[in-house]
Each structure stands twice: as structure tokens, then as C-alpha cells.
Amino acid sequence: MLLINSFLFCGFVCLVAQIILDNTKLTPGHVTSMFVVFGAFLDSFSFYDKIIKVVGGGALLPITSFGHSLIHGALAKANEYGILGILMGMFDLTATGITAAIIFSFIFALIFKPKN
């Protein structure tokens, strides 16, 4: 069941993005930034957590989940340390993704030559 939900949810997010991209003058950069902001907005009242519970891995993959994990880590730390926790916990959950992307892209940039 989670597999089907993953397919439908991840597909739906990409579908919305493609419709926005085709019918407006926005670039992919605008659309991804909008989606991150939207993901952070959805999780400010833990709505995205409920989506992840229902959908599973399909909800972790779209870029909306990046916004969700930023605010989720921030609020989790804020629960412990007060208002300073928002600054402390910002990267708690996204650190893996960002670090992995930096390391892989750096190593591959050293090894491979750019192709046109």
C-alpha cells in the first residue's frame, strides 16, 4: 500500500510542478524554491509528518521534504532549548542530504570531465 501511495504522491508533486512550469514564465529554480517554502509551511503544524506516515518514502523524495526536515529539526530543538533551538536544530535532519550531495558532487567533479 505504501508503494502505491509513494507512486501517487511523488507523481502528484511532480505533476503540479510541471503544470506550473509549463503554464507560467517561472524557471525550474523558482519552482523548486517555491516547493521548499511550501514544504516548510506545511510542516509548521506537523501536517507533512502525517503525509509521511501515510505515504512513506514517496514523501521523503520530493524537494518539499527538504523544507519539512529543516523546520522539523528546528522545532524539535526549540522544544528543548527554547527560541535559540530554532537556530541550533535547523540542519539536524537535512545534514545527511546536503553533506552527501557536497561530497559526491565534489568527488565526481574531480574524477570526471564535463560533457557538453
Binding site: L2, L3, S6, F7, C10, G11, F12, V13, C14, L15, A17, Q18, I19, L21, D22, N23, P28, G29, V31, T32, S33, V36, V37, G39, A40, F41, S44, G56, G57, G58, L60, L61, P62, I63, F66, G67, L70, I71, L75, A76, A78, N79, I83, I86, M90, T96, G97, I98, A100, A101, I102, F104, S105, F106, F108, A109, F112, K113, P114, K115
Partner: protein, 151 residues
Amino acid sequence: MVINMKSEKYELIAKEHQAPKSRLKNAIIAFLVGGTIGLIGEGIIELLCMYTHMSRNNAGTIMIVIMIFIASLSTALGFFDKLVTKFKCGLLIPITGFAHSMTSAALDYKREGPIYGLGANIFKLAGSVILYGIIAAWFFGMIRFLIGGEI
């Protein structure tokens, strides 16, 4: 002149009839490709949970690292760009798009040197996602914190 006018007119008419069709096609392709990526992600999580007995959260993190690895490698090998022009948002919206933007920026600016080329430009495209993500998370987080209640 007459022929030119005619071909122009023809192109206009053809465009009018073609545009919505290709938009629909693009949307369907984005849905199917994005959905397939979601399906693969969930499949990886379930396989990891089944064979290594790790928790679902850890499996999700490892799945994201695997996806980033695949996207970075295929960008470096040069065929991810072709896939992106075909499938567009189906590949750009999942985390693969984030990894793709970083790796392609790193590769493109490598020849301008390690500091002002690679180092300065690696976040050229991914930077906006990180910047606006943090600003939004900080803004909504502050509002959520000030409203109070159980977080």
C-alpha cells in the same frame, strides 16, 4: 511573400493546436517518472528494513543518500542531462534534481579553478533552494514557536 505569410499562419495554427497537447504529455510524463522515483525510494526503504532490520527513519536517510549518489554519478557520466530534458519535473523535483544541480555546477566551473570556479559556483543553483528553505523554516518556525502549544 505570400508563401511566407502562409507558412507563418500555418505555424501559428499548428502551435495553437499543439501546445495544450504537449503540455498534457509533459504533465503525464512528469507524473509517471516522478511516481516511479517515489516507488523506487519506498522500495529501497522496504528492502533495507526487511534485510537489515534497521529502523524506518535510518532506512529513509540511507535511501536519500543512495538516490543522491545515483543522480550525481549519472550527471557526471553525462546522461542525466538528456533525461532531464525529456522528463523535466519528474526528475527535477525529487532530491535527484538537487544533486544534479550541484554536480553539474561543479563540473561546469571546474576549469575556472578550485576556489573561484568550483568552490564559488557549486551552490550556484542549489543555493537558492537552501537559502529560501532556511528563511522559510526560520520564519514559520518562529511563528509556530510564538503561537506555542505542543510542538
